[in-house]
Symmetry: C2
Subunit: 381 residues, 2 copies
Amino acid sequence: MILEHVRPMGGAAVDVHIAEGRISGFTPSTREGPAPLLLPGLIEGHCHLDKTLWGRPWWRNEVGPSLLDRINNEKATRRAIGMDAAREGRALCLAHLAAGTTRLRSHVDIDEESRLSHVEKLLALREEMNGVMEIQLVAFPQSGICRMPGVEEWLDEALRIGCDVMGGLDPSLIDRDPVRHLDIVFKLAARHGKPVDIHLHEAGELGAFSMELIAERTRALGMQGRVVISHGFSLGDVTGARLDGLLAMLAEAEVAICTSVPPSRAVPPLKRARELGVTLFAGNDNIRDTWSPHNAPDMLARAAMVALKYELRRDEDVALALDCVTVESARACGFADYGLAVGARADLVVVDAATVAEAVITRFAPLKVISHGIVVGGAGT
Amino acid sequence: MILEHVRPMGGAAVDVHIAEGRISGFTPSTREGPAPLLLPGLIEGHCHLDKTLWGRPWWRNEVGPSLLDRINNEKATRRAIGMDAAREGRALCLAHLAAGTTRLRSHVDIDEESRLSHVEKLLALREEMNGVMEIQLVAFPQSGICRMPGVEEWLDEALRIGCDVMGGLDPSLIDRDPVRHLDIVFKLAARHGKPVDIHLHEAGELGAFSMELIAERTRALGMQGRVVISHGFSLGDVTGARLDGLLAMLAEAEVAICTSVPPSRAVPPLKRARELGVTLFAGNDNIRDTWSPHNAPDMLARAAMVALKYELRRDEDVALALDCVTVESARACGFADYGLAVGARADLVVVDAATVAEAVITRFAPLKVISHGIVVGGAGT
């Protein structure tokens, strides 16, 4: 298969040769005239396949304001409207794929109500999507570990039966015991040889302290390059030398940061993180679920929000926002064989745009989406 | 003309009777089955028709980082690519109209380079759009007043020949003389009996001081209800009693706030403003121009950004975000005959949505757009 006359990242027009699902070579295009833009398959760095209401009729959100309201409301709604992690997750995956996302990391609730039922359904969905979309599943203790009898054992079992990543959540604010929570998270990760991805909403110095504990454990276990902190809001709260010190610590431990760039609060600074060697990438987090009606399975839209959040306006700056849903995500999440290079898996998105910035800002539906060397979507199919 | 079987703001289904461009009555719908949502025509509270590159081929942004870089780059680009305020402004108006916006406030540059040329072109466009879209033009000193010989006279002339509103811009940071700048702004407004809309990016206590000067002049001239501060970022910077004091002062002077809800910085607080009686509404500001590639002529999208910025998630809270591009804008800008009421002008948007929140979040293209009682757009036309 040859994908003719496309401009990788806006460069000179080429034909892309694809064999056995991989990029086997590039040759100069022999056709005249304007060529569309070629991007690597987009990556969703943080979502919740088992929570979404995407594809369902509108759900009226009347939930109360507290975190506990939201957690309890989700459980009640799940029962009331008969949610199914596999069905909703599939709808979200297919919408993501149509918009050019070929790889995705999803957290999966493990609590006293779901136990392993979401994990089992999403492991089956991951298998079903195999060869079309690469899915990483994070065993996620949405209601804490220490405070919930049984959760530690279910997390252990989730990793044993196939979850790709060990999750965690606000070790002080949820489990009220940061050392005990994190020790369990890293113990289970080490036991199964799996990487770690911890939700850390904790603000200011509390979140900074949790980061220190995470970096210490990452170094102690030799897990450099295999740990992600999702959100890491405290890096948006501290400033100056304290911020730089934390970033240097994360760079040294090779701990990456995933942000959903919420417009409503300060987030980890993109440019300073890059300057100090910290990988920062992006994900949606909640997509139209009982927590929030916002966001969409569209990683170009997420990149545009990254650009808005960090005031990226110049074309070359907006391209940094695309990196946050492509190469930076691949590095942080350990997605292999990634990119527009010979030997990489042929996960490709063709967009009607002159520059990377135009693709991010206009967000026209892809002309073509190719995954594993197979055309799976796009306006031209 | 009868618009059959629609649900105003998600209420019971009705038929809307329209005569001579106005809503003449509502009667219960006699049809069965689901009915689409009816919204009042949307309002763009703050844009720059003469700056936009909307509808043009992609323009590569390579501008430098400073305010002066941006101002000078705009002038150079305008000459280099042959921009025309009427042509670009028309493209933006028509795109806005197709997305349901029937009324719009635009600032118009008046500086040493444009002089009155943008004003004259946009006055002609306003005339051309008369009966289809209601346009308010703000005489806007983009490069200051005091520091630019001739600008005061051009502003005076702009109001004389038809601009609807007197503009202003960062009285300390641009003209470096807040009293002199604001005295000219209010003097010209009073001379022509026109309302005021001042761009105020000034942060923290500097912006708060400018607000005090604006409120004093508003009260002294009896201009309560006729003054808008655009951006008002300082209200996102100060907190506690200082914030409440400023909001109470603005409420007493009936000065409204227009925000473009940038994700990148703190903005005036929506709920506290409402609690203390300050009208807060929304606009895009720059839409794909030499200043910024971001934003789009889509006020449902702007309402969604309002909801994201203020963390509005419940359906009834997301409806507050729609208010910021409908009723609140109408009140603040003085758009008359507005709303879903007998006697109001028949500016109507029909959307395939169950609730106001669904319309804001999903942003499906309108089924029908009606302006002045005439169908002007929508997927069903």
